[in-house]
Symmetry: C3
Subunit: 200 residues, 3 copies
């Protein structure tokens, strides 16, 4: 069974919610929230595909992605109070999203034929760049700079995927294990406040 | 008569003025104003074409666009006091610009063969993303988040164009009617302070 | 001898240091510093190539660029105190970087067959857009708006290159002379506080 497409749609849905929720404290109408959800959801994958010159972009070729975004925005609209009462919601949706997007981004880049180091960077870009766009638009310091081990978890998970792949691990298992590794690293980092050192 | 090219140049000129005027209160020299005018004018269409993988970009293939930007920047430079005394100038140039760019963006996307929903988004992107870049560069909250019905007017106008097109309305008439619909929605929204609800 | 590749790697290395150093006062871990160094180093050339539709991107096709970035980030990490004691370090690395990148950007654009005016803009973009991304990410006012004659020096150097080229000056000499012209204009502008006028 090909897990790629349902996983991509799930990640898109999760990111659209994360993006729409992010504008809660700002002067945005619900169109602005939906717009931010849209850019958050498609931003990372779009940047990856533009950098790889891989056309047409997935969300342009396949209208399902747009519907996943709209579903995420509507979910936010109708379940806003519920989602916000769950204080960790934004965080959990985001964590699941970066897990999915990193590994799918690595695979996409490998298909195009780039070197593994570049594929790992493309995986990380797929995962974190939507959030960077979201935070830049809402004038926040981008999440990759604020948080405990975040993009680093994506890079580590990408490396883990490439390692398992070189060992010949079957693809769907590798997909699942690598995604879980990213989610685990991120959850442990936040739980135990793990951080990397400062550069100075 | 093909209205597309003169309309694109007019929209580019209007956006270049809008972008150059936007830096008036900041610590910019006139090069910075011109640079902002340039990115404002070409940003939306460039994003649209990069997303569609439609090369070469219009302003790279056709040097007239660069001249239209330079004309807009020079207009701002020599008529700055005059333009600023007309308090609604920036607003009017911007409104005309988004009308033109939305409809031309929809047409460009349809030519590339995308689905209508995607074409509507591309039209909106063409219109508003130059302003988003302008506001991000000048550290403002992007216009799409601040203003009364703005990007929504573009989306509505794009839908109107697609509707008329499906009814077989002749293209130049459709162009004019759809552009007028966007300008009208925007003017009415500002005149009567129409806003969409907040997401929370 | 082909100077292009070593010059590109040197410019990449210089910009990676400039980007990594830029986050010193912020709440960044060293991953964030490295990430900023990476985007600063590859941002301008990437934008140029995406606008030109010139694939694959140089840093994706050639892994040396990634290594040059990593070397720059490691240099910053291990020599941070040393680099910061030299108060003008960031400035000098940046100046050398824009000199190299402008001229190489012009050449790349000419290879693709664009008009000279567009090639000059592409050269300037190659040089300054990495810094614009760096400053946008760290919530600074972009360097092109803040500083004495900066992007203007790149445009002037690009025009100088195109002039010498039209006179048939041999390429490596032209490369060196044009880069030196940009560095000279920039150094003189800062030394004597040369600025362009304000637009209003």
């Amino acid at each position: 069974m090909d897990l790629q497409h349902p996983f991509e749609l799930l990640g898109t849905y999760a990111f659209a919610i994360s993006g729409s929720l992010a504008v809660k404290d700002k002067e945005h109408d619900w169109f602005g929230a939906g717009f931010t959800g849209f850019l958050t959801a498609i931003g990372g994958g779009t940047l990856r595909d533009v950098l790889l010159g891989s056309y047409p972009l997935v969300w342009i070729a396949n209208i399902h992605f747009l519907y996943a975004v709209i579903a995420g925005v509507l979910t936010t609209y109708f379940a806003f109070g519920f989602l916000m009462r769950l204080r960790k919601t934004l965080f959990l949706f985001d964590t699941v999203g970066i897990g999915f997007f990193t590994v799918l981004g690595v695979e996409k880049a490998l298909e195009v034929g780039v070197q593994p180091e570049i594929a790992a960077i493309m995986g990380m870009f797929s995962a974190v760049m939507g959030g960077v766009i979201r935070d830049t638009l809402t004038n926040e310091i981008p999440v990759i700079f604020r948080k405990e081990i975040y993009a680093t978890a994506c890079l580590a998970g990408a490396a883990f995927y490439l390692l398992l792949r070189s060992f010949g691990v079957e693809r769907d298992w590798n997909l699942i294990l690598s995604i879980l590794s990213i989610i685990s690293i991120r959850l442990l980092a936040v739980r135990y406040r793990l951080t990397l050192g400062r550069i100075n």
